[in-house]
């Protein structure tokens, strides 16, 4: 829990509404039923914000606020009044004692969240580090672009993913969309008229629901001034046109904090598979390497000791791939795992051309590899090396 919020109200109903309102946010709610209890909890817990009612038994909110502000240890705690007492003079009188905001009941939970978000850096719970959404989970992507062809290109390029890509042409439509369905990621074209991309970015960042949503800037490759401006403003990533859709997908997955390991590592029956894709760009190799130790350790922990390293989809062999494969083999040896390789004819031929890879033995299918795993002399030799 990052933040502590103290709600001081004699109404259990209000305290429950406050608790309900902040349920989806990374904060702890503390409660007190009157000013005396409120001061005691504030002294003990040092909350990051106090939501304070006025009319309460034992000690009312005005007295509690006065005492709080005269206590050197507590006076810096921000206070937001949450009360049915809303007459102008009353509000002014309380404001003079020192409050950060004043919310008059009845109130909408959204407004309470919005105002709180202006005082503390409130984070939705789903953005907490514990989040582990997978690359195979659905996600909502909003593309704000006034050129339908670009939207179509992104939709087509990501159609193999479970992500739903929605396209809108203007800032207003984007705001409406975000209000209805807060997206997991937003891509905004910087070529929208009247710099509305930057205005939209600011609105997205001030809305509690989208405050932490990754926002990508879409800009023509040669527009360096715009790219710099987007970086300065704080866009999560810059995507240049013409769009490299593979790069876009990788950046999106990273920005959405998705677990992409399942693309490269899988447990199939009693065999652990490590699989490299068709194109192993440096970003892909880095991603595979990042997950490697953890995934192999997980497999061992689950009682697996057979590994198939499958590179049959790979189109070209290069030093990055070779290094990664050596790393995988060494990990197998360190963990006493038996492993075999699966490759396509072209890769097998290319391997024969390098001194270091000449001795590698390949199978042509996973089934064949699995059948020979453990009894293959080559595997036994490698595992024992």
């Amino acid at each position: 829990m990052r933040y502590k919020l103290l709600t001081v109200d004699d109404s259990k109903t209000v305290r429950m509404i406050v608790r309900k309102a902040f349920k989806g946010y990374d904060c702890e709610i503390l409660e007190a039923g009157n000013g005396v209890e409120g001061l005691a909890v504030a002294s003990k817990e040092m909350p990051d914000l106090i939501l304070l009612d006025v009319t309460m038994p034992v000690m009312d909110g005005v007295e509690m606020l006065t005492k709080l502000k005269s206590d050197p240890a507590l006076k810096s705690i921000p206070v937001m009044m949450l009360t049915a007492e809303g007459g102008r003079d009353h509000v002014l009188k309380i404001a003079k004692i020192g409050v950060r905001d004043y919310l008059v009941k009845p109130f909408k939970e959204d407004v309470l969240i919005e105002k709180t978000g202006r005082i503390i850096d409130l984070k939705p719970l789903s953005d907490a580090p514990a989040k582990a959404k997978s690359i195979f989970d659905p996600a909502t992507i909003l593309v704000v672009e006034d050129k339908p062809a670009i939207i179509q290109q992104i939709q087509d390029g990501l159609k193999h993913t479970p992500w739903k890509v929605h396209g809108v042409a203007a800032q207003g439509e984007a705001i409406d969309f975000c209000t209805r369905t807060p997206p997991d990621l937003i891509v905004v074209s910087l070529s929208l008229p009247e710099e509305s991309a930057f205005a939209l970015f600011r609105l997205v960042r001030t809305n509690m629901k989208t405050k932490y949503t990754p926002v990508f800037a879409l800009v023509v490759k040669t527009e360096t001034a715009q790219q710099q401006q987007a970086q300065t403003v704080g866009f999560s990533a810059i995507i240049t046109k013409p769009i490299d859709l593979g790069d876009l997908e990788a950046k999106m997955a990273k920005a959405m904090n998705l677990d992409t390991s399942q693309r490269y590592y899988a447990l199939e029956g009693d065999t652990f598979i490590m699989r490299l894709p068709e194109n192993c760009a440096p970003a892909v190799l880095a991603e595979v390497a990042d997950y490697m130790k953890g995934k192999f350790a997980q497999a061992v922990d689950a009682g697996q000791n057979k590994v198939v390293i499958d590179i049959h989809q790979l189109k070209a062999l290069h030093m990055g791939v070779i290094k990664l494969l050596f790393q995988a083999m060494q990990t197998c040896r360190d963990l006493a795992m038996h492993f075999v390789l699966v490759g396509n004819p072209q890769i097998i031929t290319e391997c024969k051309g390098f001194e270091d890879t000449r001795g590698w033995t390949f199978y042509e299918s996973i089934e064949e590899a699995k059948a020979n795993l453990g009894k293959s002399p080559a595997a036994a030799q490698l595992a024992a090396t």
């Binding site: 004699d10 109404s11 109903t13 009360t83 007459g87 009845p106």
Partner: protein, 177 residues
């Protein structure tokens, strides 16, 4: 007491309409509909009786006062069914959860709805130059409840319909000392 003449029936009516609309729409996501207003001359009345047979159903009545340049007491009469519905909505509780909960939960929710309604009502007076403060809510439960105001009090009753239920609001007010 120059202020007495300035607090008109119209101002009272406007304030209570605004307050009921604000509270019911914001907190219950329901649009209340005005049904009737009863202007009392004097003496005792059972405002809930205006709602006919509904008065005989179990009721929860929330009461909150205001004290200052204008002083008063407002009663909100909810039948038990609507009180439970409103509580469930306010707290995000299911019928089963409400069933398992204590009566205090419904009492507290009605107390808070009354507090908000009376707060919104009297804030209109504060802004019109009559500073006053709220009192702590209290709750009554029973059937066919009847109150008897003192003769010097100004009294108005308003009946609203919301989600098929009647909510009667009884306002007793005194301006000045």
């Amino acid at each position: 007491m120059p202020v007495i003449q300035e607090i008109t029936k119209k101002l009272v009516s406007e304030n209570i309409h605004r307050a009921v609309n604000d509270v019911f729409r914001t907190m219950l996501a329901r649009q209340p509909e005005f049904v009737s207003e009863t202007l009392h001359d004097a003496g005792a009345h059972a405002p809930a009786a205006a709602a006919g047979a509904e008065a005989n159903r179990p009721q929860i009545v929330g009461t909150v006062g205001f004290i200052g340049d204008v002083t008063g007491l407002i009663y909100l009469y909810f039948d038990l069914g609507f009180a439970r519905l409103a509580t469930g909505h306010l707290l995000g509780m299911t019928e089963a959860e409400l069933e398992a909960a204590d009566d205090e939960v419904v009492n507290d929710a009605i107390g808070e709805l009354t507090n908000m309604t009376v707060g919104s009502f009297k804030n209109g007076f504060c802004d019109a130059g009559y500073p006053c403060k709220l009192t702590i809510p209290s709750i009554l439960r029973g059937n066919n409840l009847r109150i008897e105001p003192i003769s010097s009090a100004i009294r108005d009753s308003f009946c609203f319909q919301c989600a098929g239920h009647r909510v009667v609001i009884d306002i007793l007010m005194k301006v000045g000392d």
